[in-house]
Amino acid sequence: MSQPANAIQKKPISLKKTILRLLLYFVVLDVCIITLYPYFAMLCTALKSREEIFSGNSVLPVTVLWSNFIDIWSRAPMAKYMLNSIIIAGGSTIIAMLCGIPAAYALARMKFKGQTAFLGFVIVSQMFAPVVLLIGIYQVMQVLHLTDSILGLIFINAAFNQAFTIWLLRGTFIGISADMEQAATIDGCNRIQSMMKVLLPVAAPGIVTTLIFIFINAWNEYTVALCLISTDTLKPLTVGINTFNGYNIIEWQYLFAASIFAIIPVVILFMCIEKNLVSGLASGGVKG
């Protein structure tokens, strides 16, 4: 099925090729169906009534109940959760970028002692997931009085996304020739000016990719928020939707209606950056 090889042969379409093609479509279609099935089930369930869900007879909703999507806003502080998620994800992105861009710039454009050590440290920091460090994080947050605070979550998310930020941005910056910045320097720009006016506009696609990727990571973060946040009105969506996931009864229709609100923005954002992200990961990671 290697397309390039087949393409140059230019043979008339053989039976074997047709079968292979059909098989390809069949497998890809199956993969797509399996991938979408949980989302499909989620959507269907979000449109059912409680009784219908627990009768468990149908996949599709018999009576479509759009009101579930409205009810969730009054049954839990959904608007608050949503706002918290936006603030946390946005704030983490801003801080991660403010710290990450200069660091990536220094790694890509300057030579200094400890450069390799710093890059090594950045990569090793990936090994420590927040969940394994939760006890430590909790104690540090207590000292800083940042437990049960959105600001605390923002800092944690920004810090744990530094590796990716630096990794992706360094790859982007290295891929851009330094000639133009040098020209700008000769024209009298200082480093900051040449970076802001010359490098960053050229690197915009890579920067946007990184930005969105951090935003999604922070939006989807669950474990640290679960552990640090105890006040209901400070919870992000990922933790907040568990209001519907009670000890005795799970209100699936509300849980999934709320989940759909949590999924849609990130899936759309992700589709925008998917192509750039992958090549960015590869170029930032494998080389240099």
Binding site: Y39, I95, V286
Partner: protein, 319 residues
């Protein structure tokens, strides 16, 4: 894949660091310290929120710790011995290894095959790629809840669907034993990991020069020869990156297991991270929980060093 060399820093800025420190205030001194100013924000951020917690965890693991988190002095590695002596721990360790190996190996295989398929040109390829990215973008808690619902015996849609299709007549209990729960969790883990592998491999595949395949075809190579002699060696670096990152992510993955079973019943579906979460925040044993964290680091560090040794040794022939 073109090898990019780090761009030469803008001409005049490069200064050989002189043997003695230049005068503070001079331009030369500024140029020496300038890079450190640029990386300072990042270093401070990581120092406070990553390095300090790491240090804290190590400190806690060595000390007797009260329920309130107060340190009561070095206790001769008692936290470690009490964790290792706990019969649940060996079960948890076994689960963790099984979970990591199963998820990483199977999703790497499936992701690789899926990438080969999606690398073909066919109608609807863009849509297929967009759909495959779904699980990667969705938060794990929601994924896991959806799965938990679908496989529910009483009202799950898997039973409803199979009944509608006439495959089964009565509801099947898909989660009859803890082992089967664990297998479902692994399946969910694979489901969310495949897209990442797939897209890493795709990026590698797309950078392969098609002339290799043309030459191979002229030489009469069949599909599998091309796959093993051309494709595989050339996507190896992408595969390595995705595998190494996946080992770390899957090993440390918390939300899937937490949402589906919370590691119950009786630790039978616990991995190290859910086990340590319960130790620390349910049982108030912060010292022991930290010891579990440290054991986790050591295991990951061993994996990482194996990888490093392997790449360092192989490095010369590959590049």
């Amino acid at each position: 894949m073109s090898t990019k060399t780090p761009a030469a820093p803008a001409g005049q800025q490069v200064q050989q660091s002189s043997p003695r420190l230049p005068n503070p205030g001079s331009k030369k001194f500024f140029r020496t310290i300038e890079p450190y100013i640029w990386i300072a924000p990042s270093i401070i951020l990581m120092a406070v929120f990553i390095v300090t917690p790491i240090a804290k965890v190590f400190q806690l693991s060595m000390n007797k710790v009260t329920r309130a988190g107060k340190l009561k002095g070095f206790n001769n590695f008692e936290n470690f011995t009490s964790v290792i002596k706990d019969p649940a721990f060996s079960l948890v360790l076994k689960n963790t290894i099984l979970w990591t190996v199963a998820v990483v190996v199977i999703s790497t295989l499936l992701g690789f095959i899926l990438a080969l398929l999606l690398n073909n040109k066919f109608r609807g390829r863009k849509i297929a790629r967009a759909i495959v990215v779904f699980p990667w973008a969705t938060t794990l808690v929601i994924q896991a809840s959806a799965w938990k619902f679908v496989i529910n015996t009483d009202y799950g849609t898997l039973n409803a669907l199979l009944k509608k299709l006439g495959i089964i007549s009565a509801s099947v209990n898909w989660t009859s034993t803890p082992t089967i729960w664990f297998i479902w969790e692994i399946a969910c883990g694979i489901f969310v990991t495949v897209p990442f592998v797939c897209f890493c491999v795709l990026s590698g595949l797309q950078s392969i020069d098609t002339s290799y395949y043309e030459a191979a075809t002229v030489d009469g190579a069949d599909y599998f020869q091309k796959l093993f002699k051309i494709t595989l060696p050339l996507v190896k670096s992408s595969l390595t990156v995705s595998t190494v990152l996946n080992i770390i992510y899957v090993f440390n993955s918390f939300p899937i297991i937490w949402t589906m079973t919370k590691g119950d019943p009786a630790n039978s579906t616990d991995t190290l991270v859910t086990y340590l979460y319960k130790l620390a925040f349910y049982n108030g044993k912060q010292g022991e929980a930290s010891a579990v964290s440290v054991i986790g680091f050591i295991i990951l560090l061993m994996c990482a060093s194996i990888y490093m040794i392997y790449t360092l040794r192989k490095g010369d022939e590959d590049l």
